[in-house]
């Protein structure tokens, strides 16, 4: 089992190497689907073998790596991490199936996504700060090129903006890591990069306050939280479909994952201290981003703002310092990963067929693409938290938990849900229903449109199936997530 985790992480990397050597397009596509499918199945094996009644990290591997600097190859999963690993593997599998028909430089495309998969899985599994940071940065270069190569008109601008923001954030994260490692050195007399050693250490308040901010800036850029969110709409608008899916589904979760795994458990006192700040930023993100979403006419920009709004709910739940709220926040990460992934697939499908993201060019598509209309609707409803789908459980838990200690904040945040329903239904109306505004010429053209193909159906069905299961029967998932909550709050 311990080896299995390393295998899950590095199998995509190895495949990337193999396809770079073989350089055959047919082989590349088959290999990418087979390997990502295998990784998904293996991650399920991990998931079902995860013993959530046992406390602490599981599937732990620890090997000496750079003893001079106290760095080791240390991997392990808790309940949150194992769920995120499964979600990541699922989304990457979906992305590779979706990209079955890509024509522009498929080998490089696949190789970059495989590199990205290794980096993402690694971030969730690393228990050593150095290893964590390598994976964290490792996702930067593939994503930069994915946006820069396969994006739309302003791809260079968006790719650069993405790189500079993220790199800027990472440097603060690095400073934060450095600060606690230095503190650890002065406190214990040796340099160690091990997360578990640091979790036991218990820092004094001033270190916590400083490091929390440094870590927080790094994570906030990735999430993205309110003042540093401006890269996300641009990156999403310009990124190719698969890039958007991974960006919204997985990369944003790295930030919130970092808050739960590192900020909460390493800096418990600072987390209390900064509650007003985080709450204010979260609530601003929830409301402001939702209002921005209503104002958009570009589908992807709208979904991007809705992501910012949902991520606000996650940060709110994380720092409510309540078991239910944290449970909901982690649940939300997975639920949002699935729903935003599906929504970006839907947006990408529309672009593939009609070559526009602009609502003014669309309308009444439901008549011509009936199967797609169903998928799009369910994806959207999952996103806005309809009961019966995963998002509802998450939002409910977050608001419930927050309400106990901070009723005012919870009420304000709750209005975000209403706005969420508003922007999604508005978009659905403009894109799929509203037939009066479209010209006869368009109607003729759209009568020729082809509905979803097999390689579109598989991602939708897989993702939405999981969203339904998580919404209708949340008990086992909540228990898994509860494992992390216990780790953070100590039993």
């Amino acid at each position: 089992m311990e080896l299995l985790l390393s295998l899950v992480i590095f199998l995509p990397l190895l495949t990337a190497g193999v396809i770079a050597i073989v350089r055959n397009e047919g082989f590349t596509k088959v290999a990418s689907v087979v390997v990502s499918g295998t990784v998904f199945l293996l991650s399920l094996v991990l998931f079902f073998n995860f013993d959530f009644s046992r406390e602490g990290f599981q599937f732990v591997t620890k090997l000496d790596w750079i003893p001079t600097l106290g760095i080791s190859y240390h991997l392990g999963l808790d309940g949150m991490a194992v769920s995120l690993v499964v979600m990541t593997a699922l989304l990457f599998f979906a992305v590779f199936v979706w990209s079955w028909k890509i024509e522009d430089r498929p080998i490089l495309y696949t190789a970059l996504f495989l590199l990205l998969e290794t980096a993402c899985l690694g971030v969730f599994s690393a228990l050593d700060f150095f290893l964590f940071y390598i994976f964290w940065e490792g996702m930067l270069i593939p994503m930069y090129f994915i946006i820069g190569f396969w994006g739309h008109e302003r791809k260079v601008y968006a790719a650069n903006k993405f790189f500079i923001y993220t790199f800027f954030g990472s440097l603060f994260l690095l400073l934060g890591l450095a600060s606690i490692i230095v503190y650890g050195y002065f406190a214990t007399g040796q340099i160690t990069f091990d997360y578990l050693e640091h979790a036991k250490m218990g820092y004094p308040l001033w270190i916590q306050l400083v490091s929390f901010l440094l870590f927080g800036i790094g994570f906030a850029v990735k999430i993205p939280m309110f003042p540093v969110h401006t890269w996300l709409p641009d990156a999403h608008v310009e990124a190719p479909t698969a890039g958007s899916v991974i960006l919204a589904g997985v990369l944003l979760k790295m930030g919130t994952f970092g808050f739960v795994r590192y900020s909460l458990s390493l800096f418990p006192d600072a987390s209390k201290y900064y509650i007003p700040l985080i709450f204010a930023l979260s609530v601003i993100a929830i409301i402001y981003a939702a209002m921005m979403a209503i104002a958009q006419t570009h589908i992807k920009r709208l979904i991007a703002y809705s992501s910012i709004s949902h991520m606000g709910i996650v940060t709110l739940g994380t720092f409510a310092l309540d078991k239910d709220a944290l449970n909901g926040a982690v649940y939300m990460m997975i639920a949002h990963g699935l729903s935003s992934g599906a929504l970006f697939f839907a947006a990408g499908f529309i672009y593939d067929r009609i070559h526009s993201y602009n609502m003014d060019d669309l309308g009444g598509l439901a008549r011509y693409l009936p199967n797609f209309a169903v998928f799009f609707m369910i994806s959207g409803l999952a996103g806005i938290g309809l009961p019966g789908l995963a998002g509802f459980i998450a939002e409910f838990l977050v608001l419930l938990g927050t309400f106990k200690a901070h009723p005012v904040w919870a009420v304000i945040a709750g209005t975000g849900m209403i706005l969420g329903a508003a922007y999604f239904l508005y978009m659905y109306k403009r894109v799929m229903l509203e037939e009066e505004t479209i010209s006869d010429h368009r109607k003729e053209r759209w009568a020729q449109l082809r509905d979803v193909e097999f390689h579109h159906v598989i991602p939708f069905v897989l993702i939405l199936f999981v969203a339904f299961v998580m919404g209708l029967y949340p008990a086992p998932f909540v228990r898994i997530v509860d494992h992390t909550v216990k780790l953070v709050f100590g039993g």
Partner: protein, 463 residues
Amino acid sequence: MNWNALLPEIVLFFGILLLFLLELLLKEKYYKSLTLLGFVTVVLSAFSVLFVGYPASTLFDGFTVTGFNLIAKFFLLAVTGLVLLASYDFFMKKGSIYGELPYLYLIALLGFMVMLSSENLAIIFVGLELASITMYILVGLFKREYFSKEGAFKYLVIGTTGTSMFALGSGLVYGSTGSLLLSLQKGEDPLFALGVLLLMSALALKVSAVPFHFWTPDAYEGAPTPTTSFLATVPKIAMYFLLVKLTVYIFSALPTWSFLIGVVAVASMFYGNLMAYAQRSVKRLLAYSSIAHAGYFTLALTVVDKLLMTSLLFYVFVYALATFGAFTVLSILEKKEGWTHHFLDFKGIAKEHPFLASVLALFLFTLIGIPPMAVFVGKLGIFMGLVKNRLFFLGVLFVLASLISAGYYLKVIVYMFLHEKERDWGTTGVSAGESFALLVSTLAVFFFGLFPSAVLDFLLRLV
């Protein structure tokens, strides 16, 4: 007389003599064979390092062998070997063949090896000069090109100033303490302080740290690109091994050395990184990046600390590999007709040369310090060392400078990958030697990034 201690130098010396004679007899068409013979000499010499018994000393203690010296020689030989392999095709395609080239590289190398093997300031001086004079010639090799002459002349004039400072500094130190041996230096009078200051300035000049950096951009730009790849790597490694030795033995005897070196380091970091943004030529940009790196390296000399020194030597070695790789890609591109290294030349070359462009991008990412490439470990080590010694301010400045540097490296990558192609350059061949050198440096950059202990532990024992 312990000949065994001199083994690598002797092998190298006879190789040089052989090349010298063959070059007189053979015609230009044997140039490639001569270069390969030079490479064989380097390999033999590197191999012979393994057979040297240490610690040992010979020539009346003027020449000492320690593990520290040997690993330095090994690094120097490794990088020079790569430079030789990557050089021949450039000169052949350019149609300006100089048969002297292979043995000039080797003489410079020999100079550095002698310099590193001695604990005596006079012999260090001799080695340093042997290397420096050879490098003046190397820079000015393109006799018919204005920039090459200008670069060589500047390098000569400024370099000679450095030489005289070194000589005068050694003289003053000798006058104060009565010895030229490194291990006996413990003066306190102003004479000694002045001597140390002069020595420091001379070495700062050789590693192109601010305020003695003026020759660097011109010499780097004027030199034929393979020579630049030599100039930017081998001397750096050699000088920093020497500086570590001098810091331990001499500089630390001066009370204010820490402050002085810190100022030089910070100035170099920021000057180099900020000036790099103003450059229009990628070759010049890399020259400024090397000034900035001189700053990072010098930062590690502000305290005598094991971790700092080890990380510095590791860093300078992997930096040399990455810089060598970057310059090699430039030299391959320069084989095209009319290539000037201007930013506009780099527009969209990724379409034409996806391989070369990705390799260059990789080396630039390495220089930014993105993990898992090796430079990250070097930076991390220096940063940890600085904060360990409570030099928090320097540590923060170091991170800040690294952040600033990301922008201009990224600019090159953006031009290569994300801009549209404007001009057809025609193809350029990558010779076997060049591709081998690139392969080795790429693999090494990754290998030392993922498994730095391979070198770090070794260095840690020797420092």
